[in-house]
Amino acid sequence: MKRQFDEELKTLQEKLLQMASLAQDSIATAIKSLEERNEEYANKVLEQEKEINLLDIKIDELCMKLFALRQPMAVDLRLITASLRISSDLERIGDQSVNIIDRTLELLKVPVLKPLIDIPRMASLAENMVKDSITAFVNRDDVLARNVCERDDEVDKLNDQIFRELLTYMMDDHTSIKRAVDLILIGRHLERIADHATNISENVIYFVLGKTIKHHCEKFNYEHED
C-alpha cells in the first residue's frame, strides 16, 4: 500500500542527498583550491557551506514534523532517526571543508613547502567514503556501509604519516613551521571528514538492520538487545 507518508519520507531522503552532494563537492573544491593554488574556489566552498547549513535546519524541521505528526514506527522510525544524525554529520563535513579552505588561504600567501602527495590521496579516500556512505544509504546496502567503516583506518594511517613527515620539515627548518602546521591541520580536517563518513555508515547499518555498531561497541561485546 502506498502511503502519503512515503512521499514525505522521499522528500526527506531527497534533501539529504542534495546535502550530501554539496558536502562531497565542497571537499573536492577545497582540495582543488589547495592543489591548484587558486583562491577563487574559496567563495564556492563558503557558499556551499551556507546551503548545507540551511538544509540541515530544513531536515531537522522535517524530521520533527514527521515524528510529531506521523508517530513513525519500525523502519520508518529508524529512517527518520538515521536521517537526523546523518544530516548533522554532513553539516560537520561542510564545516571541515571551510576549515580546509581557511588553511589553504593561509598557505597561498607563502611559497610551497613541498609537493602535495598524501593530502590529495587522503582527500580522495575521504571523499569516496562520503560518497559510498550515501550510496549505501540510498541503496539500503549494509555491506557497503561496513566497507566504508573499515576504510577509516587507512585514512587515519595516512594522517599519521603526514604528521610524521611534516614533523621532519619542522625540525629541519623553523621557517617551515607555519606552513607545516597548516598542512597538518588540513590532514586533521580530512581525517575528521572520514570519521563523519564512518558515522553516516554506522547510521545506515542502524537504519537497514536495526543494529547499533557505533563506538566500536561490537568489540567490547555491547549486548544489543536481540
Partner: protein, 253 residues
C-alpha cells in the same frame, strides 16, 4: 527471554462452530508486566483475551483446545470455579458499563455478592479501589450520585475500580479507550502503567501508539495466528517479521 508467566496460553486453538478463530497460540503474560495484543480487525485478539477469563463460555458453539494456565493451573479444567476465576482475572470492556446504581454501590456490588456485610470494611475498600482507579479525588464528595452522571472516562475508571475491589491478580482490558476522549485515555493509560506494580495486565488495542506507550510486551496477531511476540521496544523499533513491520508502519491493516 526469561519470563515468569502469570498467565500463559499453550498451543491454544479456538473455534466458533466450525470456524477456527485462533490457531496454535502460545503467549506468555509475565507477572507484573503489561502485555499488549495488536492486529487488524478480526485477527482474534479480542477472542484471545476473552479466553483468559472464559468469557467465551457464554457464546454457544465455541470450543477451546490447548491450555490456558493461571499460575500453572489450567483454567479450562472442570474443577475450575469460573466465578472464582473471574475475581482473580478481572476485565474492563470497550464501552464503560457501570451498573445503574450509585458510584459507591458500583464498587461495593462485588463485595456484597461475595457475602461481605461489614459496612465499615466495605467503605474502606470502596475508597481504596477508587483511589487505585485514580478516581477518588473526583468523586469523593458525590459517592451516592448515579454512576451514569459521570463522564465516559470517569465511568471507565469506575469500572476499573469495580474490578479492583475484588482484589484480582490479572486485569484484562479489551479496547478500554476506544469510546473515550484523549485526555481520559491518557489517564487510563497512566493508570495501566502504574497497575503493573500490583497486577499482571493484558490489553487489546487498535491503537498501536497506545500499545507502544503502555506495554512491556507486544503480541501481533493476524488471521488467528501469532505472527510475532516480543519486547514492545523491539517490536516497534525493529520487528523481525515483515508482516509485523508492514502492519505497524501502516502499510496494510
Amino acid at each position: 527471554m526469561e519470563l515468569k508467566a502469570k498467565m500463559e496460553s499453550k498451543h491454544l486453538n479456538f473455534y466458533y462452530g466450525n470456524k477456527m478463530a485462533l490457531k496454535d497460540i502460545s503467549i506468555v503474560a509475565p507477572a507484573n508486566k503489561v502485555t499488549a495484543l495488536i492486529g487488524p480487525s478480526g485477527c482474534g485478539k479480542s477472542t484471545f483475551i476473552r479466553t483468559l477469563n472464559r468469557m467465551n463460555d457464554i457464546i454457544a458453539g465455541t470450543k477451546v483446545e490447548g491450555e490456558i494456565l493461571l499460575d500453572g493451573v489450567n483454567i479450562n479444567s472442570p474443577k475450575m470455579d469460573v466465578v472464582e476465576l473471574r475475581t482473580q482475572v478481572g476485565m474492563v470492556f470497550q464501552k464503560p458499563n457501570p451498573f445503574p446504581k450509585s458510584i459507591f454501590d458500583n464498587i461495593a456490588y462485588g463485595l456484597r455478592i461475595a457475602g461481605m456485610k461489614d459496612r465499615k470494611k466495605i467503605a474502606e475498600i470502596v475508597e481504596k479501589s477508587l483511589k487505585k482507579a485514580a478516581l477518588w479525588d473526583e468523586v469523593k464528595d458525590r459517592l451516592h450520585e448515579n454512576a451514569f452522571a459521570l463522564s465516559g472516562g470517569q465511568q471507565q475508571r469506575l469500572c476499573i475500580g469495580r474490578s479492583l475491589a475484588v482484589d484480582p491478580e490479572v486485569m484484562l482490558f479489551d479496547e478500554p479507550c476506544s469510546a473515550i476522549d484523549p485526555i481520559a485515555t491518557a489517564k487510563i493509560e497512566d493508570l495501566i502503567q502504574k497497575m503493573r506494580e500490583n497486577y499482571t495486565v493484558v490489553i487489546v488495542t487498535h491503537n498501536m501508539q497506545q500499545a507502544a506507550r503502555v506495554s512491556d510486551y507486544t503480541a501481533f496477531l493476524m488471521l488467528g495466528e501469532l505472527i510475532e511476540y516480543g519486547e514492545t521496544t523491539k517490536i516497534f523499533t525493529n520487528p523481525k517479521n515483515k508482516l509485523t513491520e508492514d502492519y505497524i508502519t501502516g502499510r496494510f491493516g
